[in-house]
Subunit: 253 residues, 4 copies
């Protein structure tokens, strides 16, 4: 295997598609969102990217069949813009890996004549969220303006420390290639897998790209999460009589 290996699984005719990325990250917001798109819309697996920058790992499916870890691109047709959805179980494991994988992802996007990129993710707030705002960043002012009209928030110096990993580099390396790109970051506590934050991000995305998905499944998962949280809070109250603060919650999902 080479450092990077792009496997052409199938071809697809997409009409002026956008790349939508949802790899693992804070609150699994991006990954939940991308996977929800694939669950709700009919998609075709078109490319797999293998790389020695991923962990040396296979995932074992239900039938006991193992598959080398990879990032996957699915072609998805919608009633609005067509989508090329990038998801997977791992991020790169080194700085160089992040740069090189993102470059490979943009190569795949170019193959499908993608002209716009949406990187989905979460931004940690450190406390449980009441209203799920979506924070944005983009490669240019036109995209900032368009998203601002959809109530995406652009706040001075946020996220502090910039955007790291593939989501950040899709903007950074995308801009250098002349590809418009935006990052949509759902606010999330940072302690929990957060389906509600994923839904908030997807609601923006469907407004921007003119398609519609059903959210019943994400809402079910959000309810399950709330039950889990409720039980944990109960257990903690029994153990210690004081009401637990949000800080007591540990990362679960």
């Amino acid at each position: 295997m080479d450092e990077l290996d792009i496997e052409a699984v199938a071809e697809a005719e997409l009409d002026d598609p956008v790349l939508v990325e949802g790899l693992p990250g804070v609150g699994h917001v991006g990954k939940l969102a991308a996977e929800h798109l694939l669950d709700e819309l009919d998609g075709t697996l078109v490319r797999r990217v293998y790389s020695e920058h991923f962990p040396p790992q296979v995932e074992v499916g239900d039938e006991g069949v193992a598959e080398l870890t990879s990032a996957e691109f699915h072609a998805v047709e919608t009633e609005g813009r067509d989508l090329l959805v990038l998801t997977g179980d791992n991020q790169a494991q080194s700085n160089e890996g992040h740069y090189r994988l993102t470059d490979a992802f943009l190569d795949v996007a170019e193959d499908f004549d993608v002209s716009e990129v949406y990187a989905l993710g979460g931004v940690p707030t450190g406390e449980l969220i009441e209203e799920y705002d979506v924070l944005g960043a983009a490669t240019g002012e036109a995209l900032v303006d368009a998203l601002e009209e959809l109530d995406v928030e652009f706040r001075e110096d946020e996220p502090a420390g910039g955007i790291v990993g593939v989501s950040g580099l899709l903007l950074g390396l995308g801009e250098r290639r002349g590809v418009d790109a935006a990052c949509l970051m759902g606010e999330t506590s940072g302690y929990l897998v957060d389906p509600k934050s994923a839904q908030a991000v997807l609601e923006i995305l469907q407004d921007q790209l003119d398609f519609e998905v059903d959210f019943a499944d994400l809402e079910d998962r959000a309810e399950e999460m709330e039950e889990v949280i409720g039980k944990i809070q109960e257990m903690e109250q029994q153990q210690q009589p004081n009401v637990p603060s949000d800080d007591d919650l540990r990362y679960i999902g």
Copy 2:
């Protein structure tokens, strides 16, 4: 030295051999199993793989003679399928190293016309084992079915987190080359070097490949381990009057 250096120590005529890998890992199950094969069956050292992805280290033998750390392939003829046994004292020390070494191991296997790979290892359960089940994963359903008939267990989503290191990649990269591969993982506490788990794995392997080895030596080592555990438990009971739980055991061997 290059990044990878395959030394041809000897040649051997093997008849449709399978690769059996047992490098260090959980409970040293794979390494114990592979070394037991070499102890019991007549083998010939045929290849050594040196690599800068191994630790920068020499091992010192009984006579004071130092040898550069390497992975070794022994050719072993059995009354059933012939074996190419891969063992060694170290795993790669980086992600890239795991990928590149596994690729080199598969190159060696190809040289010997290997068409099937068995990666041996342990899977940690966190508690002392009463019945030594063997968990499996494979590159295809045919191999899964064959192993299932020998009582290898294939459980949904296990091992959680997939299979990492060379054992995992032999399946992942093997499948990409069109080589059938299976991983046999003996359940083990994860705290102890576990000869019983190694025996359980080898019992499956000999059924699958139609050869037989004597287990007296592994059984002796298992008894020694049990004496060690007994003494530790005794010492701990003297120090603290409560009966120690399994969790008190530290990794020894």
Copy 3:
């Protein structure tokens, strides 16, 4: 993107310029000093260096527009020697990265016919500073002598452990290319962003290179820092009746 990518943003005619480097480091002394030069003197952004040795990160500006992290060179004309000022938000993240980026920085310097390099930084003392001495090191005795006359201190075996990172390598790799280079290190506690130390370093630099900048802004920032320190000390005195030592101060800025 390649491992290193030097973007030519603009050209500039500089007369026998010197390179002035101020990347992040102890007390942010070098970065504060370089940025103050750019704030006070008219400069033109001439080169950006992108690299996979930087973190995989974009910085988000006030308008929500993201930029790939880079090191930037500004051309600055002064009434004395012209300057090529190197600054940025990140250092390399690995040993190799430090070597390769510094080599790239020296390539850029060569493009602009730079014959002398000044690396600016801080040296931690572990205690609050009363008098801001500037410690020096250089590639040759002539430069040592010239700086010693401007009251730069050259002390046996200081800084202990040598000078690490880009500042050190500008001297080490610069000398190997035949470029004269000096490092000016302002003493600083190491706990605080230190505008006073940056000013001390710049005062030496302007004497050496015959230009002048106004320090009002740096003095304002120093005053702000002192107010912050004062408040922290006050809070700590309220919490614990004993007078806090300097050691209680945490790194802030």
Copy 4:
């Protein structure tokens, strides 16, 4: 700069020389020994090896002049075998770096027609040493036998875990090139810079190579170390009335 850069500083005519390596390590035994050779015998600096596998660092000399960190080879003529002495302030910072630097060191040795290598170092015992034994390992039995006659100890399975770093690889990679090599490891507590252990190693080396050095300076350093230890023990007895065990000593030197 390339990954590795061998600078030819001077040439020297050596008669059938041996390479003697003393880079930093346990108790600084190897480095003390190699530097003592250079202090006592007339040597000429012949090669410097620079590498991005060293830390990104310059060392600052007494005059304030900075030098890029490197490994240095000195040619030394003795009344016995001539020596090529390798020393420096740093080891490589990664596995790959250890392999590549050792390969470069052996290239330099080959340039000078070195046919035998002695790697000097310390082996930690965890307690203060009364009698300074020297442990050995070598690439072949002839060298083991020769050193055994000089009272070098060769013990089964020692040092446990093998020999790591450049010292180990000089044997491992040397053997693969057909160069005879031995490692001489002075026993040392592991907590202290240990001139006595360095002397024990050098006494073996001079017997083996038929030269003589004066040890007065090393003995002086050993006495200084003992005074330091004595003061620390005194301070600790004042602080806590119980007699301190050897374990209380921290690594100093």
